[in-house]
């Protein structure tokens, strides 16, 4: 081995330009962080409050400290884009029967063992293929494809918060609404900012126990409950999804505690979707959720007085439809992601005139 040859081959005489420079169009300074001594920063976006050294990233993998300034690496960096029925998110009381121009970037601030989209959510932005879709272009595409809303989904919009804020503004400028699909693991100040910009937020409440959040989600329950209460106070339309995982979050006691908390803190009108689990990612050892388990969850929550409890991922189930809590007639009939009929008149039951909460027309 000749040392000169080694130097010529792999030892650099000087620093080369970083390949990351080619990604400059995706990089914006983060909105929520504080600077610390020695070029460190503390992220203030989610409850983890990652303290991050220079050249390092936080838990989400998409925000990086560069010389003491903190940057999002995923602004306009869309790795998944589809036109989906809004019911797929699911939103059942927001623009039913319409399509949502749905986008997501890499990254997530939790690591759920049952994640269906782990191949983007658990990756860094440079590890997945992405396109450049700046806010104005995103809004224009939503218009072009006759989508009245943009949905921020697939991974975790909290980690691409700056993009959501800018895109929601661009969308509103052309009459396109914004709907966020999130785990709700976010600090209060950025969440309030988000609520000021978007029209609806669906929160994936993963369970109603800290144990599940610690062991399966790698997160915490309490901040998510705080986030739900904040969304309620801000007046932003909110729905909740609860993925029922066999043996891990499917006890009667947990469903009852959940229902009581929702009714007391958010009110009986918040739609609550019990969704069917399918084995994926790190939870392949469990079976899909039995439908009777979902029906038991719904029955418990109905009995506690919640008005809009749904069953999801079971196409054709009667609990996909919306029923008037007063006269019990179906006001929105669904099959899978399709709205078959609507019996609403200006947000009221056509039969008994009972107001049905939601954003029905966009």
């Amino acid at each position: 081995m000749d040392r000169r040859a080694f130097l010529q081959t792999v030892a650099l005489p000087c620093l080369a330009a970083s390949a990351a420079e080619s990604d400059a169009r995706f990089i914006v300074e983060a909105r929520f962080y504080e600077k610390l001594p020695y070029r460190k920063i503390r992220c203030k976006l989610c409850p983890r409050e990652c303290v991050i050294d220079d050249r390092e990233r936080g838990y989400c993998g998409v925000r990086e400290n560069r010389g003491g300034k903190y940057y999002s690496l995923v602004h306009s960096r869309v790795c998944a884009a589809h036109i989906d029925p809004i019911e797929k998110k699911p939103f059942f009381h927001f623009a039913p029967g319409t399509m949502a121009f749905s986008v997501g970037t890499a990254g997530c601030n939790v690591n759920c063992k049952m994640c269906q989209n782990w191949e983007i959510s658990q990756f860094r932005p440079e590890q997945v293929t992405s396109d450049y879709l700046p806010p104005a272009k995103l809004a224009a595409m939503a218009q072009q494809y006759r989508c009245p809303s943009i949905a921020y989904t697939y991974s975790e919009p909290v980690v691409f918060c700056e993009y959501v804020l800018d895109a929601a503004e661009a969308g509103h400028a052309v009459g396109v609404k914004s709907a966020v699909v999130s785990g709700g693991y976010m600090q209060t100040d950025p969440l309030k900012e988000l609520c000021r910009h978007v029209d609806a937020i669906k929160v994936d409440l993963k369970a109603f126990s800290e144990k599940f959040y610690k062991e399966v989600v790698n997160g915490e329950l309490k901040p998510v409950l705080n986030a739900l209460a904040t969304i309620r106070k801000q007046g932003t339309w909110n729905e909740i999804v609860y993925l029922v995982v066999p043996t891990l979050n499917d006890s009667d006691a947990e469903f009852k505690a959940l229902a009581q908390w929702v009714k007391a803190e958010l009110g009986p009108d918040v739609p609550l979707h019990f969704s069917r689990f399918h084995p994926e990612y790190l939870l392949k050892n469990l079976p899909p959720t039995p439908v009777p388990t979902l029906e038991r969850a719904k029955a418990i929550c109905d009995a506690e007085g919640l008005h809009y409890v749904y069953i999801g991922n079971v196409p054709g189930h009667p609990a996909e439809s919306t029923y008037c809590p007063k006269c019990r007639r179906a006001v929105v009939e669904r099959a899978g992601y399709t709205v078959k009929a609507m019996h609403l008149n200006r947000g009221k039951c056509q039969n008994c005139r009972q107001p049905i909460p939601g954003i029905w027309e966009v």
């Binding site: 792999v10 620093l15 658990q122 860094r124």
Partner: protein, 323 residues
Amino acid sequence: MHRKAGTSRRNLLRVCVGGALSLDAAPPEKSKVAIARDPRIRPAGGAPDSARLLKVLDRAMQLLYGLDSPAECWRQVARPGEVVGLKVNCLSGKGASTSTVLVEAICERLAEAGIAQSDIVIWDRLNSDLESGGFRVTSRKDKIRAIGNDEAGYYPELSVYGSVGSLVSNTLVKTCHAIINLPVLKDHGIVGVTLALKNLFGAIHNPNKYHIDAGDPYVADAFMLPPIRQKVRLTICDAITAQYEGGPSYMPQWSWPFNGVMASRDPVALDYTGWQIIEKKRAEKGMKTLRDVKREPAYIARAADAQHKLGTNDPRLIEVLEA
């Protein structure tokens, strides 16, 4: 928490045969950690002197393997025809990255042991990390390669152990038969220290997920991923300039010239020994212990436990050889 000694044939006989046989009590085999130093390794505090560093490396290897010639030592590490990966640590750029001069010396000795240049791959997470550490990225297969995982990609099958589920670098899984692990002796602001075990976070696609709880059990679990555990054969820790606070970023005010290298086939023993060196320097400087600042590297004990058995953290079972 110390690793319990496994059941050897001798122990088995003792248990099963009882007094029928009289056997000498044999002490458990110790893990060796070789430390070689030269106070003049960096003339005027600049880049390491390559000739002196080569001698330091040779001394460490000969101490570790108990052999007279460096080439003999390196023939214990890899055979001709095998592709050898050198996992450097360049996240922090020049100052706190694996020295190019040390890598050069290792390449020289590997070549003498019959490893072709085309069978040596220097690698880390990102091409940009390698470049900032002073390496020129090249994937030409007729020479020594230097390539980041971002270019080489990740093996698409999820590798799972305990709390960790990750894709592992193609360089490690597909390209290399053997890995020589080349961390730097330094503090880490979240997990306490970053040495042999932690350096393999650079082999997985999602290390950011595993810094919580001071890396315990994640650092140990990641090292247990089958392709990693099976291929890492040796750790040579760059301890020319060490850092006792402020890591992993380079903080010259908390660095000191240790002027040496550490070598071990037991990553846990090396980590334990390196951790103690850092604690000693922190004490000299009047700083609190890593436990007191809530970043004791508990993952080192975890790596030694009965589930992991990656090595020993029991000082009674670690033989530190110094020269």
